[in-house]
């Protein structure tokens, strides 16, 4: 079962080109000053030295996707009778995502618990998830905003990935972690990598050594819930937040969406598009009532969902993969680590605690 290959750096593009014959291949590349995942183009450089600005979330969960095409028609015998004919549009084809980081890909395992639940499986998500293979690049060193090791992961954690690629001298050691992964490693460009396994192992150990101590977040689910009603806490935490959606859209584990019908004349499409709990409209009810009227309510939900409500119903798994993009790319430097630690350390004022008990 265990399959280990070696790929020379010089052959990377040729290999991806081979894979692109049968799959849509996504790889990170420079767009302006950002690095984003885009369909692989051999003419362009692959930008994998540092983690990408955006995670490869859209490869499985597109920014917007068609769910149903529909057409209205009028009954010629009775013009007030309008009929609708709809057809679901399921995603087709297979995809390979090269160059995501362990945190990026682990994010999908948090989607899986929601979208692939037994009771209700999301067929659109399922089709893409099953048909996408992830070749993940092990991290060599953490950035100042990285905190994967706070949330039960690490720089070489291959959870959710199909192949783990490790940078070694002159190329990559590719380790297959699933059947899907093994099937990708058949190219003649790949050499046997057994002899380089130790080198990869050493790189993994070195990456782990560079991590600083992580605080204990095991108490987070309970503690974050305990401050749920302490609005002063959330108002202070959210004071500088602009309530934009950058954090959620850059997050590998944020999976919320909106469903809208985009109609022109008698034809239309029902689409699913990214939505985020920092948006005021997210919880706007038809009556006009909004149960999360302020940014404090909204940020409370974002932090609470990740560090309390989700772990509560999903075996204690924190639905944050620690990539740090929400910190690094926040226009005002909101730091989710700081908020969670403050919630853990929060001591209610004496009077407040008594009031709660009554």
């Amino acid at each position: 079962m265990e399959l280990v290959k070696y790929l020379k750096s010089a052959d990377l593009k040729s290999w991806l080109q081979e894979l692109a014959r049968e799959n849509r291949v996504f790889a990170p590349r420079n767009e302006g000053d950002s690095v984003i995942f885009a369909p692989f183009d051999p003419e362009q450089e692959i930008a994998i030295v540092h983690p990408a600005t955006l995670p490869p979330k859209k490869t499985v969960f597109p920014q917007s996707e068609k769910l149903v095409d529909f057409t209205y028609s009028k009954d010629p015998e009775n013009l007030s009778r309008i009929m609708i004919d709809g057809k679901e549009v399921l995603p087709e084809g297979t995809a390979v995502v090269f160059g995501g980081r362990p945190c990026d890909v682990r994010g999908f395992t948090m989607f899986d618990r929601v979208y692939l639940a037994e009771k209700s499986t999301d067929i659109y998500y399922q089709a893409r998830r099953e048909n996408t293979t992830f070749i993940t690049l092990a991290c060599e060193k953490p950035e100042t905003t990285c905190f994967c090791h706070w949330v039960d992961s690490g720089p070489t954690d291959a959870t959710g990935s199909d192949v783990l690629a490790t940078v070694v001298d002159g190329g990559y050691v590719l380790e297959a972690l699933s059947d899907k992964g093994s099937k990708l490693l058949t190219s003649t460009l790949l050499e046997n990598g057994e002899s380089r396994k130790d080198e990869a192992r050493k790189a993994h150990e070195k990456a782990a050594e560079l991590l600083q101590d992580a605080p204990d977040l095991s108490g987070a689910p309970k503690k974050v819930l305990q401050v749920f009603d302490t609005m002063e806490f959330w108002e202070e935490a959210a004071a500088k937040c602009l309530s934009c959606g950058a954090c959620a859209y850059l997050c590998p584990s944020c999976y919320c969406f909106n469903i809208t019908d985009e109609t022109i004349g008698m034809k239309g499409t029902r689409i699913r598009s990214w939505d985020n709990c920092m948006s005021a409209q997210f919880t706007m009810e038809a009556s006009g009532h909004n149960p999360r009227p302020t940014k404090a309510h909204r940020l409370r939900n974002r932090v609470g969902h990740k560090f309390s409500y989700y772990p509560d119903i999903h075996d204690g798994v924190i639905s944050c993969c620690g990539c740090g993009r929400c910190i690094k790319s926040c226009p005002v430097g909101t730091d989710i680590r700081e908020i969670v630690l403050q919630a853990i350390e929060y001591e209610p004022a004496v009077g407040e605690e008594q009031a709660d008990e009554q």
Binding site: G32, L54, K141, A246, A280
Partner: protein, 319 residues
Amino acid sequence: MKFQEELKDSIRKALPDLDVVLGWCGSFDPLHATPHFIRREEDIDKLEISPLSVHNLATYLPGLRGKKVGIVVKGCDSRSVVELLQENLINREDITIFGFPCTGVVDQAKIKKALGHAGNVRTCDISDSAIVIQTEDKAHSLTLTQMLADKCRTCRYPDAIISDYFVGDKIGEPAPLETDYAALEAFESLSVPERFGYWLKELDRCIRCYACRSACPLCVCRDHCAAESRDPHWLSQENNVRDKVMFQVIHAYHMAGRCTECGECQRACPVDIPVLMLKQKMNREIRDIFQYEAGVDPEATPPLLSFNMEEENITEKEW
């Protein structure tokens, strides 16, 4: 900064009568600052003014309406405060303004480019002329003027236009390092297909997070934005570059003659889309037609918020 202690003293004096004072403090790494909300005496010590104080804190003012708010402003930020006052979006008597002589703030995108990567900054020392950044493997010495935001390179208002407390010596009218709108004019020399192609390419990576809107001090529709309105249905929610262009056009039009070019829209963009240029284009037109500059005179009425039967430079009768 030399005047920082003096500023802290002024805030200390004013704080008892205020609910909060907005300033800046250190952030997740030594290269970044973050908005700092001073509520208590002990919060004052954390205040730091430096070329990293990039955020325009005036963005928070409309949301804090009804509270007594102190705000530390750069010259450009004070123009946003003025514009908010001109539009009656905030009350002068509720705002206490702390000004200081600003010598410019950095553009993090320029620093990122100069370093190649800014994810592992250990220390950052800023002098009058240089920024020395220590990353895990190297010390980078960058010339401060080259790392300044474009708006600082063309700045004509380094001192707060209005203030209740001003610390330090006023700079007066400096000689800008660059002429206004030089980059815009270079872009305008391109053909229409080239220009439109540029925007289609740049906006293709927009994730529609609307950080550009949320960071804008004058985007005051807040929870009632055209971007998400379903009725009227201005924009589709599809990941479609034409809708993204459309939103930016709506934004730019709403800003015409109001925008002070603080650049927060562009700074906030997580995928570095140069959206400020669209607003600059509108502003230059306003300047040429109405000889008007936004946010420099609290008593002035922005041209598109007023109506004249005869406009001096719009000769519609001759059309």
